[in-house]
């Protein structure tokens, strides 16, 4: 009797699945749920504080309850930031980020395509191994030779000095994630395109590229985030104020306006806002791509 029920339980599982799961989840996970909501508060409270404070003037900052809404909201802090060299730094960040992710994703995609399609080649396996090794090495530790290299290439204190190493640093992870996706493209599709006389280049563009789009978006945003928020490379490879990117500008701004905390926080909001907007637009794709890309 017992054997029979347990067997039928397994075989009919797909049918009973949804309601069964839902019931289990509801009764269970109160502990995870509690942790989830507490964590949400831990995440959101500082963010709320940043935004609220950025609309206060200095006297309100010193006297008001830190979490109270501003009694007399002001946009003066934002005006102060925007009227500084902020737009220049913003543009620099845009140039460096776009200048990095477009070539980085393009060459990583080509490399991932070659590694999957050329499986069996010792050369490609070796290259893949090299990239995988790059994942395990904190490449930031190689900053001193990179600095020397950039000086010798006469690129020191230019935006290109930030772009080239950033591309190189983003290759290992991009190739890994993209290769995982290209591997899932059914081999039959390649075979039938080949029969129709397509070249590898054509198959890459017309077959692999469209099917890998979610991964391309994921990789672009992930790398873009890293470059947009990068601090070490700009700190070491540039010097003049007009080559500063946002995180570095934020740091110097904090030095200049250390007393004016609301203004510093307004600059934090302004440097983060474009990324938050980008995230809001591409969130679904980013999250699904990210979870799929890393959990394999």
């Amino acid at each position: 009797m017992a054997v029979v029920t347990s067997e039928s339980g397994t075989t009919t599982a797909p049918v009973r699945n949804p309601s069964f799961r839902a019931r289990r989840l509801l009764q269970l996970n109160w502990f995870g749920g509690l942790a989830g909501w507490i964590w949400l508060a831990i995440v959101l409270v500082p963010l709320y504080w940043i935004v609220v404070t950025s609309f206060k003037d200095q006297s309100a900052y010193f006297t008001q309850n830190p979490f109270a809404l501003p009694s007399a909201p002001t946009t003066n802090n934002y005006r102060l930031v925007i009227e500084s060299d902020f737009p220049r730094y913003f543009l620099n960040s845009v140039i460096v980020t776009a200048g990095t992710i477009i070539p980085a994703v393009a060459i990583s995609f080509m490399a991932a395509y070659a590694i999957i399609r050329g499986a069996g080649s010792k050369f490609l396996a070796g290259v893949n191994g090299l990239f995988l090794m790059g994942l395990a090495i904190p490449l930031q530790a190689t900053i001193i030779p990179v600095y020397l290299l950039i000086i010798r290439m006469q690129l020191y204190d230019s935006l290109l000095a930030l772009i080239l190493p950033s591309i190189a640093f983003s290759i290992p992870l991009s190739v890994l994630v993209l290769a995982n996706f290209i591997r899932d493209v059914p081999k039959e599709l390649f075979e039938s395109m080949r029969v129709d006389g397509a070249t590898e280049w054509g198959m890459m563009r017309k077959l692999a590229l469209p099917l890998t789009r979610p991964a391309l978006v994921t990789v672009s945003i992930y790398n873009g985030l890293g470059v947009w928020n990068g601090f070490l490379l700009p700190l070491i490879l540039t010097q003049s104020p007009d080559k500063r990117t946002l995180p570095l500008a934020l740091w110097t701004f904090q030095g200049q306006y250390s007393v004016n905390v609301p203004a510093v926080l307004a600059s934090v909001v302004l440097t983060t806002l474009p990324i938050v907007i980008l995230y809001a637009v591409s969130r679904r794709q980013l999250l699904s791509g990210l979870t799929a890309g890393f959990s394999r």
Binding site: L135, I143, I144, T272, I275, V276, F294, S295
Partner: protein, 308 residues
């Protein structure tokens, strides 16, 4: 460009599709990435080792220095301290982040709508730069004008960044604040790949929720745990910007991790040789830790990929 696709070279067509024959025409596609990675990744990696045997102030000529950098750095009492701080932050932040991320990731893997909503909000700390986060927390924790005095809460009114033990705790808290969301997303993806039939079978056998978590979820997530831990541990070797902006290594040298030690020796004291020694140690440490974690997983990345 390829509209009039040229016929495939006869040799490749007539061959049985055995993989090896096909590697020829695609192999060149790997070259741009390979070239850039060699110039800005592999060459500097070798360069770190070479520079560690030289004397260089960052501007002038580079002179051979033999083993002197290595002997002086390895004898410097600062080094064990920096290594200790690095490991302390690495291990404690792993201990805080991993259980929390596992729990949150398992929780988020459920399908209710509000969980999707939580996952959206969780991601936000990852969008901020470490510099922005450090600046924010510096203001929040200010003993005179920060949260504590503002809310008139005594336990929050501490010299958080002025006491060594507190400063390390703050760094670990902020790192967790920033990265737990990321790792819980990784775990969320991992949990969703566990077949639900396993849970059903277990609950028919009478296993409770907690039992299921430890007997099914955690073992099934083995590779996810390895991936996430590798990212965490190797990533923690590069915590530079957060600590640099938050404490600049202080108070004293309480939060001077290896990456900061390297920066201070190299770019602030203009002694690139000793700084390269530290850099080489960071690289070796990263490699050793990654290999160790892979060994612990009892598998290689390759076999994981075959299975995918």
């Amino acid at each position: 460009m390829t509209s009039a696709a040229p016929p495939v070279p006869p040799g490749t067509v007539s061959k049985p599709a055995s993989g090896v024959g096909r590697s020829g025409p695609v192999a060149w596609m790997v070259l741009p990435a390979l070239l850039l990675f060699i110039v800005f990744g592999v060459v500097p990696l070798v360069g770190v080792l070479v520079l560690s045997f030289t004397r260089w102030d960052g501007l002038g000529a580079i002179h051979a220095a033999g083993l002197s950098n290595w002997t002086s750095v390895l004898r410097d009492p600062q080094l064990p301290h920096s290594i200790l701080v690095t490991f302390e932050i690495m291990i404690l932040s792993w201990v805080v982040q991993t259980p929390m991320s596992l729990l949150l990731g398992t929780f988020l893997a459920g399908r209710q709508r509000y969980r999707a909503f939580l996952a959206v909000l969780y991601f936000i700390p990852l969008l901020l730069s470490s510099a922005a986060i450090a600046i924010t927390y510096k203001a929040l924790l200010d003993p005179n004008f920060g949260l504590g005095p503002g809310l008139k809460l005594d336990f929050l009114t501490q010299d958080w960044l002025g006491r060594s033990d507190l400063a390390i705790a703050v760094v670990i808290f902020i790192v967790s604040w920033q990265f737990i969301p990321f790792h819980s997303l990784i775990y969320q993806g991992g949990v969703r790949q566990i077949p639900t039939t396993m849970y059903e079978a277990a609950s028919i056998d009478g296993a409770g929720r907690i039992r299921q978590f430890f007997s099914i979820t955690v073992p099934q997530l083995k590779y996810t745990i390895i991936t996430s831990s590798t990212l965490m541990v190797v990533g923690s070797l590069t915590f530079f910007d957060l600590i640099f902006v938050l404490t600049a290594g202080g108070p004293g040298d309480a939060t001077r991790v290896l990456a900061l030690d390297m920066y201070q020796r190299g770019f602030m004291s203009n002694r690139m040789g000793p700084a390269s020694v530290i850099a080489a140690l960071i690289v070796l440490l990263g490699l050793a830790l990654a290999l160790l974690l892979r060994r612990l997983g009892g598998s290689t990345t390759a076999s994981q990929q075959e299975g995918a």
